[in-house]
Symmetry: C2
């Protein structure tokens, strides 16, 4: 039973919860938890790259350590399911434990699974990750829109019941994302079509913050579209990937925020997780201080983004 997000608190939805997390932490950073065995710090890296149990244990240690390092500076983490699934069921046990660790640290957890299906199967995914008795106990889930409106409905209903959220893929950060997303139909791009659908779902679901529970994934690598989509979905929280390792800069993501510098979180995975490998932090802390490096990288990213998101001329760029 999760009383703290029960149906009783009708005024609070996921949009409000995300906004609270941003305001409480003073941060719009989302730390992506993408463990990769080859990038783990040598002190915790298993020798045998096919020993799933050892790798799963190392992922728990590593992600737990990262959570502890950034928890004072950042309010949101995003475990990437693929990297846990890569090592089999043992990885899924680790993912469950990592999510629980993040929740105990008071963080919001967005699971990046890009799930979806139809009918009762979509319901199963919704209950799995966002349900009242969810064994994973996430706060939000990324969801793909290719299957259409009736594939999103079970997730939206679940969001209403448990004050959880979804982030629907709208305009992704990869170079080939335009294959479907940028196609024009009836004078409108496919990504815009998805965006308007999401926007309309939030109009009747705005919380105190002005935001609803149905968010959108919009890549940092397409600043023009980010500006367009911020305006098209004024009540949707945005999850902005593509910052850092993928090339997006603080200036590029500035347009993702509202006039108060809120309404979006910017994900960084490798640049924070594996900051101990980056020259600037290796020189400062030495090669073994992966937690201190991650903490410093999160603080630095906070500074960069807080400068960008609060710029008065933000929306006149």
């Amino acid at each position: 039973m999760r009383i703290w997000r029960s149906r009783m608190t009708a005024v609070e939805n996921f949009g409000d919860r995300l906004d609270n997390a941003i305001q409480r932490s003073g941060s719009v950073v989302c730390v992506g938890l993408d463990p990769r065995v080859d990038s783990l710090p040598p002190s915790i890296r298993p020798q045998n790259a096919r020993d799933w149990l050892a790798i799963a244990a190392a992922y728990e240690t590593f992600c737990g350590g990262i959570i502890d390092a950034v928890a004072g500076h950042v309010g949101v983490v995003k475990p990437q399911a693929a990297f846990f699934e890569e090592i089999g069921a043992a990885g899924m046990v680790a993912m469950q434990n990592v999510i629980a660790h993040a929740k105990r640290a008071g963080m919001l957890v967005i699971l990046d699974g890009k799930r979806n299906d139809i009918g009762s199967t979509a319901q199963a995914y919704a209950r799995a990750y966002l349900g009242e008795d969810s064994p994973w106990n996430c706060d939000a889930l990324t969801v793909s829109p290719y299957l259409g409106q009736d594939s999103l409905d079970p997730f939206i209903e679940q969001c209403d019941q448990t004050a959880t959220g979804i982030f629907v893929l709208v305009k992704t950060s990869n170079p080939g994302g335009g294959f479907l997303q940028d196609q024009t139909t009836d004078g409108q791009t496919i990504y815009r079509r998805v965006a308007e659908r999401i926007a309309s779902e939030n109009t009747s679901r705005q919380g105190k913050s002005g935001y609803g529970p149905i968010g959108a994934v919009v890549g940092a690598t397409y600043p023009e579209q980010l500006k367009e989509l911020r305006a098209a979905m004024p009540n949707s929280p945005l999850l902005i990937p593509g910052f850092g390792a993928q090339g997006g800069a603080a200036g590029d993501v500035a347009m993702g925020f509202d006039a108060d510098g809120r309404g979006a979180v910017v994900n960084s995975s490798r640049h924070i997780l594996f900051a101990y490998q980056r020259e600037e932090y290796r020189e400062r802390f030495g090669p073994d201080a992966w937690q201190r490096a991650a903490e410093a990288a999160a603080i630095d990213m906070n500074h960069q983004l807080n400068a960008a998101r609060h710029r008065p001329a933000n929306h006149a760029l």
Copy 2:
């Protein structure tokens, strides 16, 4: 190490392996493994619907029993990840064991996960389910195309390396699937755009059977589009959901097969899994004989589909 599908056997690809499974079994049925606690036979249904470990154990027993019941009549099973994920990491352990059980029974396993992501994350999913040392050890995976070509490439490369396959969502069986799939762009529907992309990937990858490793999901509920897409993707194996419980009939799926009555498998989940609840089988076998009911339902579906797929006038309908 999985020598039986190593790179050495360059002439065999997943298209050939699926064709072999169809010919060996004389069946184009794919049995969907969609366990749901509320539908389990009373004799194995856990009392406590929140006891994940007990439910996971019941799912293993049930899916294993179904596999044993249908293995002599059907060559392909399709576990639905959502129903295992619904019960948490314990469910994922069960899923791993169910897949292993199906492989031991000599069946091809298509995991229905509708996964996808970009870059190295897509690679992680591809390695997870289709890699040389995959802990899940599936033969194929369903994949969503919304993220574009560069999200599919890591899966296609993996298919080439391990003689595995993917089934890309093209035209799904749900009523709302047209939201994006039926939109027209440059005089072409989105589903057709995806289909042509898939078709072109297979032209250089045809095996002895004429089929390549890149399949497509096309719903039984849209027979006109099934006919169009069979023609548009002559070298792509089709996975046809929507038969039975969703309303598709044998006549509707006839157009999914090639002139030899091959090149596609038709999924049925509930109608076979929970056949013990259907009046016709309950009367024949009694209410507890869930394995005999599933076996009979699979045999009956074979008869229906074999009549439909081998009809000489099949492609002149």
